[in-house]
């Protein structure tokens, strides 16, 4: 009897600890319950718009997850997200540049910002929070100057980026799926990316075993900024307008999704699937509240409370395990 309850508690603990499995169960349960209660939920239209809306966020969340695994994070991704669209829009509209070239330049600039972040943090030794906080303001300021009040009249070639369909699904959903598959493979199978877990758990030990921590960190910040820029370009193409305010507050939403998906701010934990599950979960809660016609003000209360409960439960579990 005693051993039986022990087995039971260890199983519940394991599910609680594998956050993506836990979230997966909750997401499925919520969806089934919701489809019985609300007719509007389980329609194809709702599912498609649901996936379309979360596609950009989840791409940014994957980049943030890699940073969180290595024990860092980046508050400037929301601004980089906005800047990418503004640079591309500005080049295409005011300078009549070719859309491929414009997108390319926007991505390069944003990856450069990531490299600067990474260099300041790992090489110079500035705290990641302060460095990326400053970069968030700096980049947003430039996005406001470049994008102005918004740029419309973007060329057709650029609008095609997000406005095509493949197998009845809008193409941003496919971008998301491809990026998820690539990074799941990279982070779980490739030695180079596995090193980020090591760095996150113990940076000094990683350094002593010969891992070039500085270079690894710079690369991770470049990936995070690059993915944010890709998502920004996709959203700009989807909305057919480059807005200088797009992506505001995104950094905190994405960190929330990653933490819910099992990342820890002290590093060493998390997975790409966790980032995706966290994003889906937040999007699902928001979607349900819209369908249930709950006031939009409740969204931040509910998401914030869930985050608080999740991390508090985590801390309590960790403490009881330590004792």
């Amino acid at each position: 009897m005693d051993s039986n309850t022990n087995v039971n508690t260890s199983i519940t603990r394991r599910i609680l600890q594998s956050r993506s499995a836990f979230l997966g169960i909750i997401i499925v349960a919520l969806s089934i319950a919701a489809s019985f209660i609300f007719d509007a939920f389980s329609t194809m239209l709702n599912l498609k718009s649901f996936l379309l809306n979360l596609s950009c966020n989840s791409i940014v969340a994957i980049g943030m997850m890699i940073l969180l695994i290595s024990g860092a994070f980046d508050l400037s991704v929301g601004s980089v997200f906005g800047l990418a669209g503004c640079i591309a829009g500005n080049l295409m509209f005011y300078h009549q540049a070719n859309w491929i070239l414009s997108v390319f330049i926007a991505l390069i600039v944003c990856i450069g910002i990531g490299a600067l972040n990474g260099t300041l943090i790992s090489k110079v030794g500035v705290d990641p929070l302060v460095a990326t906080l400053a970069m968030m303001g700096l980049v947003r300021g430039f996005a406001l100057i470049i994008g102005g009040t918004g740029i419309i009249g973007l060329p057709d070639g650029f609008l095609k980026i997000a406005d095509s369909k493949l197998l009845h699904m809008r193409i941003p959903i496919w971008y998301m799926i491809v990026i998820i598959i690539i990074f799941t493979f990279l982070v779980s199978k490739v030695v180079f990316f596995r090193k980020y877990y090591y760095i996150g758990v113990n940076e000094k030990a990683a350094n002593l075993t010969g891992i070039n921590v500085v270079k690894m960190r710079i690369i991770s910040f470049m990936i995070a900024s690059g993915l944010a820029a890709v998502a920004g370009i996709i959203l700009t193409s989807r909305l057919t307008v480059a807005l200088s305010s797009s992506g505001e507050g995104l950094e905190l939403r994405v960190i929330t999704a990653c933490i819910l998906g099992g990342a820890s701010l002290s590093g060493g934990k998390g997975s790409v699937m966790g980032a995706v599950m966290g994003t889906i979960f937040v999007a699902l809660i928001n979607n349900l509240m819209i369908i249930a016609k709950v006031g939009s003000y409740w969204q931040s209360v509910v998401i914030g409370s869930i985050l608080l409960i999740a991390v508090t439960a985590d801390a309590v579990l960790n403490k009881s395990r330590a004792e």
Partner: protein
């Protein structure tokens, strides 16, 4: 001759280093430079009216920044202060306008409920051991949501007896400036002279050593969160009194502005550094930059670029100096 020159050069270098490391002096120098150049370039900058406006605008932010500084000295921070500021304004306005409370009573209720939020944050962080960034992040969303639920589109028509709080003048200065002076003086003395508050430096320097030497770190942290939230609550009262309204976005984004001002004023995210004067000067500096942008009719976007650029420069210089000191 050559030897003398080298010595002199070294002396200059160490003076520059000291100046950069003493952030209060550095900020004073920067503020002086702003006054000098802006005074020459723009007639409207160094006028009594403009200076008074800058100082009364920054005074409410500065009160929140002082609370944030105490947290940063002890090695943590609170992302929810902006929402807490909005919360206190909202509670107060609802009690006065919808429930017909006496302003004094409603202010007390609003500030006390803010202090309770601070105590809750402190308990979750220090007692249970959740990361302070995540708790702040979650509470930022929760409290802001509650604010929006309470005030909706905003509450105006606050009574004159409440508006007096921020609208009166004393010795030709608006009252919020005096509130700031009093609060800054109190906390400056507390942090300099009392053993209790000096312990925050110790906790920020080495939390484990502080706990081992018999300091009750958990209680100290809960108290610091209560102080910070309480100061944010008081600021919310002042701000809604000055604006004669409680709007749902009141104080949003303030948390990052307050942290920026503290870092500019010499705080470090690792704890152990900073003082009240640094917090006030950091806020004043940001206020002056904002004002300068308005006076010079530069695009509003440049404000963020200049302030963020200076923040980035300051922390990068700090890190470089620290590294060269180690080498």
């Amino acid at each position: 001759m050559g030897k003398f020159f080298i010595l002199n050069n070294l002396q200059v270098k160490s003076t520059v280093k000291k100046l950069l490391q003493n952030r209060v002096l550095f900020l004073l120098l920067l503020i002086f430079i702003i006054f000098l150049f802006a005074g020459i370039a723009y007639d409207t900058f160094v006028t009594e009216n403009n200076i008074k406006t800058v100082i009364s605008n920054m005074s409410i932010d500065a009160i929140v920044t002082i609370g944030m500084m105490i947290l940063l000295i002890s090695g943590v921070f609170d992302l929810s202060v902006g929402s807490v500021l909005g919360f206190s304004a909202a509670i107060n306005a609802v009690l006065i306008e919808r429930a017909g409370f006496n302003p004094v009573l409603s202010i007390i209720i609003a500030v006390v409920s803010c202090i309770c939020i601070g105590i809750f944050n402190g308990v979750v962080i220090a007692k249970i051991g959740v990361n302070h960034l995540i708790v702040g992040l979650a509470m930022l969303g929760v409290v802001r949501g509650v604010v929006m639920l309470i005030v909706g589109a905003g509450i105006t028509r606050l009574p004159d007896s409440f508006l007096v709080i921020a609208d009166s003048s004393f010795l030709k200065w608006k009252l919020p400036i005096w509130y700031l002076v009093i609060i800054a003086a109190i906390f400056s003395i507390l942090l300099r002279k009392t053993v209790f508050f000096r312990r925050y430096y110790y906790i920020g320097g080495n939390e484990k050593a502080a706990a081992l030497s018999g300091i009750n770190v958990v209680t100290m942290r809960v108290i610091s969160y209560a102080i910070s939230a309480g100061l944010a609550g008081i600021s919310g009262i002042f701000l809604s009194s000055r604006l004669a309204a409680a709007i749902p976005t009141l104080g949003s984004g303030l948390e990052l502005r307050a942290i920026t001002a503290c870092i500019l004023g010499g705080a470090s995210l690792n704890g152990g550094y900073g003082n009240v004067l640094g917090a006030v000067l950091g806020t004043l500096f940001m206020g002056l930059i904002n004002n300068l942008m308005i006076v010079s009719r530069a695009s509003i976007s440049w404000q963020r670029i200049v302030i963020s650029g200076i923040l980035l420069l300051a922390v990068t210089l700090d890190a470089v100096i620290k590294k060269s000191g180690v080498d």
